[in-house]
Structure formats: C-alpha cells, structure tokens
Symmetry: C2
Subunit: 359 residues, 2 copies
C-alpha cells in the first residue's frame, strides 16, 4: 500500500478529525455561505454573471470556492453552488431571480408534472467534476465539502414555484396526495444521491445536505414524509464513499430545527448542523453521543461590536465541548452585509481559544 | 349588586371559561387573522383604503372585526388592527407597504433616535375606543380580544426599518448597546401597556400580545433582553383590569417559539399561544398546568383536502386535552389565499367534536 502524504494530511485535517469525533489540535471552523456576496472579491468576479451561469462555470466555481479559504484560512472549503443546480442540469425550467431566489416555471402539484424530473446523469454536470478537479489541486490538505439541497427543500421550491413563507402548496401535496409526494421525494432523493456521489468521486472530502426549510414541519411529519428520503440520500452517499474505500462525513443542516435535531441525526448524519436557537450543549443532549455537531454563532451577532462577537464565539466553543466532536460554524449563512474583517477575527479567535483549551 | 345578564353571559362564554381553565360546553375557536384578506367581504370594504387608514376608522374597524364573527360563528372576535398602529399614533413616521409590511422612515439605532417614542396618550387613539364601543354593542356575549404587538417585535420593525429575515441590526443593538436597547424596550412596553389598558377600559374581554418575531432568539437572550419587558406589559394589563374589578385573560403568542414556550408563560400569560411546530400535548408539558394553551392547526393544512383538514383538526383537539384549558386556533395567521369555506367547516367540526367529547 502506497502512502500519499498529501492524502494523509487531508485525512488528518482538524475538520475531518472533528467530523469523525477524534481529538483535534484546534476546533475547525468554516462558515456557511462563506463564499458569497459579503466578499468584495466575490462581487467583482460575479459582476454581470448570472448566478446559475456562475455555478456552471468551472473556473468561477473554483475561484469563488477558494476566495474565503485564502482570505480567512478556514479549515474547509465548501463548493460554491446553489441547491437548484442539479434541477437546472436535468432541464427543469427555472431561474434564480436576484432578491427573490429560485423561480420555477411549471410548479409541480400533480403526478403528471413529475415528468420534469428525469434522472441525473454524470454528463449533465461535467462542470462540477472539472471544478472539483481544479479545487482539489489547489486545496491540498484543506478538505472540500460537497453541497446539495435536501429533498424537502427542493420539493418546496418545485411545488411552490419559488421561495415560500408558509409552504402551503407543499404541505397540501404532502398531506393530501401522499403518493405523488412520495414519488416526488424519491426522484429528488435519487437525484441528490447521484449529485453528491459525483462530487465525492471527483474529490469532495465531506458533504453537507442542506434542508433549509425543514424547520417548517413538526417532528411527526418530518419523520413520516421527509426523513426516509433524506436518509436515502445520506445512506447512498455513505455507500458510494465506502465503495471507493473512503469515509466521507455527511453533515446535515436545517434552520429552526430544534424539534428535529435528534431525527436529523438518525437520518444518517455524521455531523448535525445546529442553528443559533439551540445552544450546542442542549443540542448535544438531543442528538446524542454518536454524532458530531456543527455550529452555531448567530450570524446577526457579527453586526455587534467585537467584544460581543468574541464573547459569543467563546460561548459557542465552550458549549460545543459538550459534543463528541465540534465543527465551529455560524447558525445560518453569512449575511451579505457582513464585514469580512469580523469573520477573519472569528477564525483567529476560534483557532487560538480552542488550541489553548486542547493544550 | 346588580346583575347584568349580558355581562354574565359574556363572562360565562366558552372562550373566557377556557382561558380561565374552567370546564367548557365545547372547545372555543377563533383564528388569528380571521379578519383579513381571505374574506371577499374584507377585500370589498378595504378596496382603496390604505391599511393604516382602515385601522384608524372606527366604522371600518368594527365592520372588519365583525365579518368573521358573522361568517364563521367563531367564539371570539379579535380587534382588527396592526401592531404598528400605536407607533403611528404617537407620530412615528411609518407606513404599511402592500406586499412588504411596515416601513419606518428613521430606523432607531442609537439613543438619540429614541426621541421618536413619546408616551402614548388616550387622545392619540380615540378611534379605538369608538371602535370598541361599536363592537361591544354588536357582539353581545361574544368576547372581543384586544390586540397589541410585543415590545421585541415592535423593536425589530423600528430598528431594522421594516420586516427583516435576520434581525441583525436589532440583535446588534440588543447585544452591543444594552442600555439603549433597554430604554427602547421600556418605552415600547409602557406604550403597549397603555394601548392595551385603553382597549380593556373600552370593553375588550381579553388581550393577545403578539411577539411574531421572537422565535429568532435563543431562550437565554429572550430571558435577559425581552421577557422582562413583555412581562411588564402583561402585568400592567392585569393590574389595570383588576383596578376595574375585572379579570381579563392575557394571551401571548409568537412563531417558532418551541424553545421559549415555558418562558413566555412565565412572562405572565394566562394563555400561551402555540405555533404548529410543537404538538399541544408536548406544549402542555413545557408550559405546565397553570396556563391554558391556544392553537395550533397549521394554516397550510387548510390547503389540503377536507379529510386531511378534519383529521388534523381532530388531532389538535385531542392533543389539546392535555392542556388545562384549550382555545382552538391556527398555529399562525390565516393565509390570504385560504378558502373561507374550509374555516367554516373547521369551526363546525371543532364545536361538534368537542361538545361530543365533553358530553
């Protein structure tokens, strides 16, 4: 067996060690939406380039993914993408409207409309393989996290036709036409399993399954209508990684999921992402000892004076010690108006404080 | 002591009995935002009338408040208003923009900007006294619920300058300038105490304090920065009612408050409103035996076929039996596109089912 020193350094990175609940030299940190509008260098390269075009251009994906790694020295990169990218890739008629979000031309509210969802083929998303190739060459021992939306959140966009406050058409379909719902979710789960498998094959070291909207559901409905499909995605990714002789940690995150944390872990996550509403020590009680946690500094706190940011960063680190592994992150994505300098200081503080605590 | 039969019938209404955790002939039901855009008769009378103008016109307030009582036979009326009405009444420069919500001309982010918040005087809101007079004459034994926004939610509008997803300026002020925050919240609490006292004096039989956005806070921050001020409002209303020789139940509601339910009860609510994310039996465990619950059919469920609506209505009724008193409601406001016929059937079903269960 040959030993590739670069691969060994990557496998031994603080981020992957924390995901595996192993001892770490310092608490690893990255930020959801670290690559994005808060960065001037991002706004420069995106100038005049529509979102979906950017997500499909390997050079741009690689450049944007690298920007926060260079600037902040975060412990992981996350693939720059959007959750609707695989939907676009199979030909669903949708666009991302600035200030609105994804808008779907033909919302799916009946079995007949499911014909928009064919299987995802590797040839549909060659751009992502190319982008990941560019990235792994640059990232060295810094892990790349693959990216996918969870079936429920994708379903909500498809059924509502865009972002929704109440998810009323989604819930009407889920509760009122469970067979159609089930078929919709099965197709989306298969698509996302393929989408993540392609990313893993190309070199992603971990994956995050984002279920942004799932906090709109009570736990019973989550368990019945959503969890089996999220679990199918997570299981498939795990099996795919195993077939390559690799272990690829699976992070699972949603917003407003206090009632769901335990179930989201049971769905097959190695790491459960926690929003800022539940302290990490309480989250650790809900999730249990067999999964690491990720989170959970409130991104709104970054708008307060530094002493507040520092105190709350320390508090999240302290609460995170109750978890069997802790990846420091925000409790939601970086808000576009955030001052990047503050994030730089948060990374430094997390590294210093946690290294001192380990030592 | 003279006995007023109308007053006795009102005091003995199912709604007020349930709020007091007394036995009821049937579970009372009303719907948050029952008076509003879902009703064709509402859209007719609002045609061409801006929201804030409507809220300040006694005839219109009375007519709109009565519409769902006539149509649905709900067990309580809720005063048609908007949470920013008292702010407008003291001269804060704001408007309600269709499709957006309240927009504040000069957001409050420093001590100097607090000068926009003078005390509320009864003369500022004579229209509401007149409206309540018209209403109590028509309502007879049907209770009228007074209406106010809680200090945190008002503060969020004032600090952000409008509706906000992340409340970043609000939290920056709260965490970064706690003295300014405290003074802002004290002024708002005083204003809302007066606003509700005026409604109670005019004839409101109960009040609901809406903290729509408070689910954006973890419990520790709620307890420290918000709860004392909400408690001040609730306490003042209770004392005011007692000074009139009356008992006026106080309902306290927010969205996404699974982590806060117990504290929101301790803030001084007689009835804790529960959104649809936490089943009522679980909410009863969190809130304890000394408070009634209100809720919590998901308003999105009303878009599903009737058998689903009926099953979930029955489930909410059944779970509500775990509470020492239950006022049936939605877990959030009526969605504007809701079919009013479905709400008619929900009222009938709640009354029939619960009367059978009591009998």
């Amino acid at each position: 067996m040959t030993v590739d020193p670069a691969a060994a350094a990557l496998a031994d990175s603080a981020f992957l060690r924390a995901c595996r609940r192993e001892a770490v030299p310092h608490t690893p940190v990255w930020f959801m939406r670290q690559a994005g509008r808060s960065l001037p260098e991002y706004r420069r390269v995106r100038d005049g380039v529509p979102m979906l075009a950017a997500c499909r251009t390997p050079d741009l994906v690689a450049e944007i993914t690298m920007q926060p790694v260079r600037r902040y020295g975060v412990d992981a990169a996350i693939l720059f993408s959007d959750i609707v990218v695989p939907l676009k890739a199979i030909g669903v008629d949708l666009d991302i409207k600035a200030g609105v979000g994804p808008v779907v031309a033909r919302p799916i509210r009946s079995a007949a409309q499911l014909d928009q969802l064919r299987e995802l083929e590797p040839d549909d998303v060659g751009f992502i393989v190319e982008a990941i190739g560019l990235l792994t060459a640059q990232l060295g021992a810094t892990p790349l996290i693959g990216f996918a939306g969870a079936p429920f959140t994708l379903a909500s966009y498809l059924v509502e036709g865009g972002p929704s406050r109440n998810h009323e058409h989604t819930k009407a379909l889920m509760y009122g036409a469970p067979d159609v719902w089930d078929e919709l979710m099965r197709r989306l789960a298969a698509m996302q399993a393929t989408w993540l498998a392609i990313q893993v094959s190309a070199g992603a070291s971990a994956v995050q399954l984002f279920d942004s909207w799932v906090g709109a559901l009570p736990a019973d409905d989550y368990a019945r209508y959503v969890m089996p499909h999220s679990a199918a995605v997570l299981r498939a990714v795990g099996e795919h990684a195993a077939s390559l002789g690799r272990a690829v940690p699976r992070i699972h995150f949603g917003v407003g999921t206090g009632e769901l944390l335990s179930l989201m872990g049971e769905a097959g996550a190695d790491v459960v992402g926690v929003d800022f509403r539940v302290p990490l020590d309480e989250a650790a009680r809900r999730v249990g000892p067999s999964r690491a946690l990720q989170g959970n500094l409130d991104p709104a706190v970054l708008f307060a004076p530094w002493d507040v940011v520092a105190a709350r960063t320390r508090a999240a680190l302290a609460a995170g010690r109750a978890a069997p592994g802790h990846v420091f992150n925000l409790g939601h994505g970086v808000i576009p108006e955030t001052d990047p300098e503050v994030l730089t200081r948060v990374v430094e503080l997390v590294h210093e404080e946690s290294a001192a605590a380990q030592g």
